[in-house]
Point group: C2
Chain length 212, copies 2
């Protein structure tokens, strides 16, 4: 039985190749991310996003079933975006592990500064809004935090193996401690329009790490 022969190719228009730069769906996601990191989910109307990109409403509901589905797509995209950022820094074997963590923190701080501290962290924003959000968001947000924590913890393990922190350090706990507090720092940085909360938190966090 032939299987590598195109038995009955579908007629009609095939799905087009997605282009990262011009794809309408991608444009909507990008604009959505900008607005949601600034104002959150509930305070943002779909029309505002549409207006920015210059796309009519019909297109939105072609690409997304609902505002909820749009939010879920944003969470996933942002989670991956940040995971890549983490990997880029924490996997940089040119630096000792602790310095990699510092590099990540600096990068994240610079990212906030670049937008004049108007944009925060999408995951943190939505987490705080959970009371008014579709319940489907909860697990995704939790999973995202857990994922980031795991990457952070892995780097702490390397630091432990390199003798930079104490041999009996609980890296999972320390990573959780970091992310819990870091999200608070992002919140405050947005409120105060300043990098100080980020630097203060990161400074005392690193100082608090148990030394060998």
């Amino acid at each position: 039985m032939h299987t590598d022969q195109p038995v009955a190719r579908r007629r009609g228009r095939p799905p087009r190749q997605r282009n990262e730069l011009t794809d309408t769906r991608e444009l909507l996601l990008r604009a959505g991310l900008e607005v949601l990191t600034e104002k959150g989910f509930s305070a943002t109307g779909i029309d505002e996003i549409l207006g920015r990109v210059g796309v009519p409403k019909g297109s939105f509901y072609h690409y997304f079933n609902s505002k909820e589905a749009f939010g879920l797509a944003l969470i996933e995209g942002y989670g991956r975006f940040f995971a890549r950022k983490l990997d880029r820094h924490l996997g940089n074997r040119a630096l000792p592990p602790l310095l990699r963590l510092h590099a990540f923190v600096d990068d994240a701080r610079d990212g906030m500064a670049r937008h004049a501290f108007r944009r925060g962290c999408l995951i943190g924003n939505l987490g705080q809004e959970m009371g008014a959000l579709p319940e489907s968001f909860r697990d995704r947000l939790r999973d995202t935090f857990e994922d980031w924590q795991a990457r952070f913890s892995a780097c702490l393990v390397e630091a432990r193996e390199a003798g930079e922190i104490a041999a009996d350090a609980d890296t999972d706990q320390l990573a959780a401690f970091f992310w819990i507090g870091w999200e608070g720092a992002v919140l405050r940085a947005k409120l105060e329009k300043s990098a100080k909360p980020l630097e203060l938190f990161a400074g005392l966090f690193f100082a608090s790490l148990p030394r060998g």
Copy 2:
């Protein structure tokens, strides 16, 4: 010149004495606090608050000039409420200073647990929402955090004087560190519907305090 004589008493109906328990204004504030700590400012409609209290819409704008004015009143009330809670614990001379801080943390955690971790901190909620809020909120929120931090720092000073923490500890910095991270912990506790983030953060915070 007589001043204790009621020279020209105003005619007409006098402003009534506000009664803490039945006052409509107070009821609106109380209900508003419940909803806003749960869902935030933008996601909450005035109608929802009105519905809870059983007060018609027209009355709202008799007591408050706008939703914004309502929000400002809530911030002030919540700031004072929490300041009292802080004073009650941190001023308790029956306990050594560090234990007072622990007592406050436990109280705050129990408060969240009592509402099944659905309600967060009003100030933290609004801080995160700042991007979509009237700019008049920003200073009030900042001031509230500063106020809480000052009270926390004062207790740390007592701890330092009692030799519970290092003599050269920077109490202002430590208090800032605590509140930055604590708000993050409240956020996570709400997301995870669990006391764990609160306990984990508080645990490592206290462990990180520089010992004499």
